[in-house]
């Protein structure tokens, strides 16, 4: 059997069964950990859409986690606890921000693009620090998770977990459809050789911008989920090292694979967790590991499993 398919299937099975296992062993921490894995996998997936397939290396993607999270937190504090309002605002605000900074950033290339996306993320980070009413640097506790009027009780850990998992799988499916559509072909073509695409007649800037906005919106949803998960928002959600974490997850898993970001997120977060139990100095292992992957590995874990470089 195709090893990649086998691994993907096992991963899905494990994720589906986590709540069952956690209930049996009476270990709520497992649920907390895996919910975090699933949410960050969604964020990494959105980054991979523009980075892996679009070739746009954004170093400011954590900004959308923050925008989505703060949308939920701010509305909750102001008395609007309904998820039907909070989540669309989270997605919409992220999309708007992506539109604004995408329009400016996509005019630049290469390392300048990396820098300017970083700069825009830093800007919103400092805005959050300045929001005294919403905790500023101290952050803000969210006392009540998003309410969905009796349809879903997010306070129930199991319900929340399966909701996040469902959203992740929907996201993967969406990305798969997008990448393999005509739109996706243009994006991937632009990554390969933008001049040629433009010569053929495609307004690549517009396509890239749309892609950028979709990625931002998806990550904004992940941010709303994260805020609910931790019941806490703080500017730290948007710190540039968080953006770095997302990039690591995408690259580690394999940027050309649909399940890459999920596998990357799982590997990275579980590795971090396990190493912290064994040693006081987990980064003595993780650091060199990242370096190793950067130097020698092509295509991440997916590549190791035999995934080819597509497009």
């Amino acid at each position: 059997m195709n090893p990649r398919l086998a691994v993907n299937a096992v991963v899905l099975a494990v994720l589906a069964l986590v709540p069952v296992y956690a209930a049996r062993t009476g270990d709520p921490f497992l649920m907390t950990l895996f919910t975090r894995v699933v949410i960050l996998a969604l964020a990494a997936l959105s980054l991979n859409l523009i980075m892996g397939f679009g070739g746009m290396v954004s170093f400011g993607h954590a900004a959308y986690l923050g925008i989505g999270g703060y949308a939920v937190g701010i509305l909750a504090k102001e008395g609007i606890g309904s998820g039907f309002v909070q989540w669309p605002v989270a997605i919409g605000a992220s999309a708007l921000y992506a539109l604004a900074i995408g329009a400016l950033s996509l005019r630049t290339r290469g390392v300048y693009f990396i820098m300017i996306t970083l700069a825009f993320a830093q800007m919103i980070y400092y805005v959050a620090i300045g929001l005294d009413r919403y905790g500023g640097d101290d952050g803000l506790t969210i006392n009540q998770r998003s309410r969905f009027g009796g349809l879903l009780n997010l306070d129930n850990k199991v319900v929340f977990y399966y909701l996040c998992l469902a959203l992740l799988l929907t996201g993967i499916y969406l990305v798969w459809r997008l990448v393999n559509s005509r739109f996706g072909l243009v994006i991937r073509g632009a990554r390969s050789n933008e001049r040629r695409m433009r010569a053929i007649g495609f307004p690549t800037f517009r396509y890239k911008l749309v892609c950028f906005v979709i990625a931002g919106a998806m990550c904004g949803l992940a941010g709303a989920l994260l805020a609910n998960h931790t019941n806490f928002i703080s500017p730290a959600m948007m710190h540039w090292t968080r953006s770095g974490d997302l990039m690591i997850m995408a690259v580690l898993g394999g940027m050309q694979a649909m399940f890459g970001p999920l596998i990357g997120a799982m590997t990275f977060l579980l590795l971090e967790e396990q190493l912290s139990r064994i040693t006081q100095y987990p980064n003595l292992v993780i650091g060199p590991l990242l370096l190793f992957v950067a130097i020698y590995v092509n295509g991440g874990i997916d590549g190791l499993l035999g995934g080819g470089r597509r497009g």
Binding site: M51, V57, F59, L104, R107, T108, R109, G110, V111, Y112, I114, M115, I116, L118, A119, F120, Q122, M123, Y126, V127, I129, G130, L131, D132, G136, W240, T241, G244, M247, I248, V251, Y281, P282, N283, L284, I286, G287, P288, L289, L290, L291, V293, A294, I295
Partner: protein, 305 residues
């Protein structure tokens, strides 16, 4: 007015420190095309070395000299062991790999020096303020920083403009492939440049240490500012780094000092305070965004593409 001059001097001081970091970064960027997130770690290590050496030798100056040499050595080793293997890879791989190095160094420092941080004390001669203008007291040590960093900047300028190595550096920033094709030992050049960048970063770190504490992760905030400087100044250009560093240092310091007060004219105290804080922190990024929109390659790009 006195307050303004004081802030202006603080801005110059910050700018000079940024220049030391940015100079190394821009060379590494421009010549070796490497995005080096571990540069802040070299800044941190320079400070830690200085704190330890100063303790052992009981002398700030001796500790500083030894620390610069040690950081230079670390830079050389780092280039040989890790960095040179990244040249052939993509920018994303650079970000990933050097981020890994950043994490590694933070942890290594925690292992070797412990989590609590260190202090670097100044000799007592530097511990007071001098009245440089009537009514204007400025700490002696900050004047020392400005003086020392200007001297180093001058030496760097002399190196880059007046020596053969400097000529190779400028040529490499301008056209990397040609320099290699002309038979220069590129490998050695790259190693030396990285070591030089490391030494500059370490020097900046130890100079800053008596004002801020020496702690794990201390390089991360200033690293971002250094990247902003390099981007504004133009990749590969030391002159650009100098101008941009002063600009960024002044904008950041003067911004933090005066923006809240400026806003206070129009807004209530609490609103102007929080908005002012946010705005002044954002200023250097706004400047960078502006520069990139008007001149996408920075102010003085070394390479003409």
């Amino acid at each position: 007015m006195v307050y303004f001059i004081e802030q202006f001097l603080n801005g110059i001081q910050l700018g000079m420190l940024l220049f030391l970091l940015a100079a190394g970064l821009t060379l590494i960027f421009g010549i070796m095309d490497i995005v080096n997130l571990a540069h802040g770690s070299l800044y941190m290590i320079g400070a830690y070395f200085a704190a330890s050496f100063a303790e052992w030798t009981d002398s700030f100056v001796l500790g500083a000299i030894l620390a610069v040499i040690a950081t230079f050595a670390v830079g050389i080793v780092l280039e040989i062991v890790a960095i040179r293997r990244l040249y052939a890879r993509s920018h994303l791989d650079h970000v990933l790999g050097t981020f890994g190095l950043l994490l590694f160094f933070n942890e290594l420092v925690r292992l070797v020096w412990g989590p609590a941080g260190m202090t670097l004390s100044l000799p007592s001669e530097m511990l007071h303020a001098v009245e440089i203008l009537p009514g204007l007291f400025y700490p002696v040590y900050r004047l020392v920083i400005i003086g020392a960093t200007l001297t180093v900047a001058g030496l760097l300028y002399g190196l880059v403009m007046g020596t053969r190595l400097g000529m190779l550096i400028r040529a490499g920033a301008s056209n990397r492939e040609m320099v290699g094709a002309l038979g220069v030992n590129i490998k050695l050049l790259y190693t030396l440049i990285f070591g030089l960048g490391a030494a500059l970063a370490g020097f900046a770190g130890l100079m800053q240490a008596p004002i801020l504490t020496v702690q794990i992760g201390m390089g991360e905030n200033i690293l971002i500012a250094a990247f902003v400087v390099v981007t504004i100044g133009g990749i590969g250009s030391i002159r650009g780094a100098f101008v941009a560093a002063l600009l960024v240092g002044l904008v950041d310091t003067v911004g933090r000092a005066f923006v809240p007060d400026l806003l206070h004219v129009y807004l209530t105290t609490s609103a102007s305070a929080s908005l002012g804080r946010a705005l002044s922190s954002m200023m250097i990024y706004l400047v960078m965004a502006l520069v990139l929109i008007v001149r996408p390659e920075g102010l003085f790009p070394a390479t003409s593409k």
